[in-house]
């Protein structure tokens, strides 16, 4: 937003005030995330900046908490770091196990949420669908209802049906939480969808299945991908439902962090948080780049 030449002094003052306000809001949003990155390199087991760190003394920094992520939970952490040590890490390190669980649960929950959410959005976008708003509200409700209530409900329901303490249970629960995001993003894509395209496909002889996979699906793909990403992040971040539904040995990253805060306060969770921030940024960037590329290839945007 460039300042026009005819701007009055008052407009100039407002222009710069506005920029400062924007900067402050941005800082307010990003500061809590940025602050953990230097703290995770703390040499001492504190959550605060030590004097050495503030003086930028190299001895005030270390990667010991990143190392702890690997060694914590190992059978023999002090052995020489050869192949068998790494096998030990892979099999026994608590954080590595949690990461494996989180990825498996996240992957399947995303798959399920994306498939179901896309179907729901397609149905809800049809003009002949009765009670659209009501059904939409019900499907979106997991996003609005306090998570603790959903978790309690799931706990009793899953205990009764035997799904508690199983991976299937956690995956289903996380899919429930992810579906609203997929519905919202896919519905938003379908708003701009030209329904004469499906009619055109039918007039050209394509049956409804072919039309869906060749015409509808490629065109709503950007919305589906965005929704899937949100669903994955939701599952990856989720702790409350896991605390209620999962068995003791089914640790996920957020649950392991939760345990870490409660049991032994160590900056190890700061290093996990830093890794997660970096992974999230990479994930979002990759998906956004892929989405833009596919949009460009599909001729949906001119550039």
């Amino acid at each position: 937003m460039a300042l026009p030449k005819h701007a009055s002094p008052l407009e100039r003052i407002w222009h710069y005030t506005y920029l400062v306000i924007c900067g402050l809001i941005f800082l307010f949003l990003i500061a809590p995330i940025l602050i953990i990155i230097p703290l995770s390199f703390n040499a001492e087991p504190y959550f605060t900046f030590t004097e050495k760190m503030l003086r930028f003394d190299p001895t005030g920094y270390s990667t010991r908490w990143y190392d702890l992520l690997l060694t914590f939970g190992m059978i023999n952490p002090d052995a020489p770091r050869d192949a068998s040590w790494w096998r030990d890490v892979w099999e026994n390190a608590a954080w590595v196990r949690a990461a494996k669980n989180s990825l498996i649960i996240g992957f399947f929950a995303t798959l399920l949420a994306t498939a179901l959410g896309t179907l729901a959005a397609l149905g809800l976008s049809r003009p002949e669908m009765p009670f659209r708003r009501l059904i939409m509200a019900v499907l979106i409700s997991p996003m609005i209802v306090p998570i603790i209530i959903t978790a309690t409900g799931l706990f009793f329901f899953y205990s009764w049906t035997g799904l508690a303490n199983t991976y299937t249970g956690i995956i289903l629960a996380h899919a429930t939480l992810g579906i609203p995001f997929v519905i919202i993003t896919v519905t938003a894509t379908l708003v701009g969808f030209d329904h004469s395209l499906t009619r055109a496909a039918a007039s050209l002889g394509a049956n409804p299945t072919t039309t869906f996979f060749k015409i509808t699906m490629p065109l709503i793909m950007p919305g589906v991908i965005s929704g899937a990403l949100f669903a994955f992040v939701t599952s990856f971040d989720e702790v409350v439902v896991v605390l209620f539904v999962a068995a003791y040995d089914q640790q996920t990253i957020p649950r392991q962090m939760w345990n870490g805060i409660r049991e032994q306060i160590s900056p190890a969770i700061l290093s996990v948080a830093t890794i997660l921030v970096i992974v999230s940024i990479l994930l979002l960037t990759t998906v956004e780049l892929l989405r833009r590329r596919s949009e460009r290839l599909r001729g949906l945007s001119p550039g």
Binding site: S196, L197, R199, A200, A202, S203, L204, G205, T211, P218
Partner: protein
């Protein structure tokens, strides 16, 4: 085949069973209360170019959508080549269609768009490519095969949409206001191109438009729709020169209206007393008996200025003159109506009128058509 003969052939086929496309007592209602299409009967022979013309909301697009299979008829039968198609889904009807907004698939190149109908029919790659090249050349778009629709202009997209509707050799092609989004010059050019394609390929075309000049230019026959009913189904020249009711006379071309009461009626001529007490003779086309109201319709170009002593000579006051290059449009006040339009050719021999002067205008009795009052 000359157009007159074609029209008669079409009309005679309408009553026979050999029609290619047939609407038989078709009704359509969206809400179960009001009929959008009321008792539609229409028969088209093979190879005809029929235009459905009418104002928006007249039911013409609904008829096209029922024929394409995107809307179901509430009542009645639609037949294609003698076969009832009411219960056949659109993708099994084999009818080509050109949509108003082109409906090209944005994620496919022009070649892929054109190959799509062939692909779903399981036609092999080499034949597909040959066929695509052929239709691309047909619409003079040979070099644009690898472009995406977004990289083409409106007129080019229109050609591709046309080619895609023709690539699988359908016998019937439907067009839903396909030229609506183009500028005037391009639209006129495309009208001739579509007309020539129709003649060359011998396909049957049902064309929907609200643009009367488009309908008159392209069609073998025009069905004028209003209020869910076909008002008149006739070749263009009949429609313009011999409208059967006031709506058609009003809707097609320019038209002067004089309202009055019928005083005398012989076989096919009525004497009508106009609002200001004068009387005039008109051809009885669609009017009632003595004492009933009627509307006389006279085309502006059938009125002569300054000739006296004919059957219908009338005094007229010049209200306004508009210079239009090849002709001058005169607004006259005649028998109490002040929007009587006469077109005076801008030729050397013609007398020029002056605003405010009183002159005599006349017309032949058969050019004044007594129709139903509006």
């Amino acid at each position: 085949m000359p157009e007159n003969e074609y029209g008669e052939f079409g009309l005679s086929a309408a009553s026979s069973d050999g029609a290619f496309v047939e609407f038989d007592r078709v009704q359509k209602s969206y809400d179960g209360v009001t009929l959008v299409v009321k008792d539609l009967n229409l028969a088209m022979p093979k190879g005809e170019f029929l235009t459905m013309l009418g104002p928006s909301g007249s039911g013409k697009t609904t008829c096209l959508m029922m024929l394409a299979g995107f809307e179901t008829a509430t009542h009645g039968e639609i037949r294609l080549d003698g076969r009832e198609i009411n219960n056949i889904p659109p993708h099994k009807r084999g009818i080509g269609m050109v949509f108003q907004n082109y409906a090209l698939f944005p994620h496919m190149s022009v070649n892929e768009n054109l190959a799509f109908p062939l692909e779903v029919r399981g036609i092999g790659r080499s034949e597909r490519e040959a066929r695509v090249r052929e239709v691309l050349d047909m619409v003079q778009m040979g070099e644009f095969g690898n472009r995406r629709p977004a990289q083409l202009s409106g007129g080019q997209q229109q050609r591709i949409a046309l080619a895609r509707a023709l690539v699988f050799d359908p016998e019937l092609v439907l067009m839903d206001e396909p030229l609506g989004a183009l500028d005037k010059q391009l639209r006129e050019h495309m009208q001739y191109e579509i007309k020539h394609l129709h003649e060359r390929l011998g396909i049957t075309v049902v064309y929907v438009t609200h643009d009367q000049s488009e309908a008159l230019t392209m069609s073998d026959r025009v069905a004028v729709f209003n209020d869910g009913v076909i008002q008149q189904l006739a070749p263009p020249e009949d429609l313009y020169e011999r409208p059967e009711n006031s709506f058609v006379a009003q809707f097609i071309g320019e038209n002067n209206k004089l309202t009055g009461i019928i005083e005398e009626r012989s076989d096919n001529v009525v004497k009508v007393r106009l609002a200001d007490g004068a009387s005039c003779l008109a051809l009885a086309v669609n009017c009632g008996g003595v004492g009933e109201e009627t509307l006389i319709s006279i085309r502006p170009e059938r009125v002569q200025i300054g000739r006296e002593g004919q059957a219908n000579s009338n005094e007229a006051r010049v209200e306004e003159l508009i210079y239009l290059g090849d002709h001058i449009r005169c607004r006259l006040s005649v028998h109490g109506t002040d929007d009587f339009i006469v077109k005076v050719p801008n030729s050397a021999g013609h007398k020029h009128l002056v605003v405010g002067e009183t002159t005599i205008i006349s017309w032949e009795t058969e050019d004044a058509r007594a129709l139903n009052p509006l």
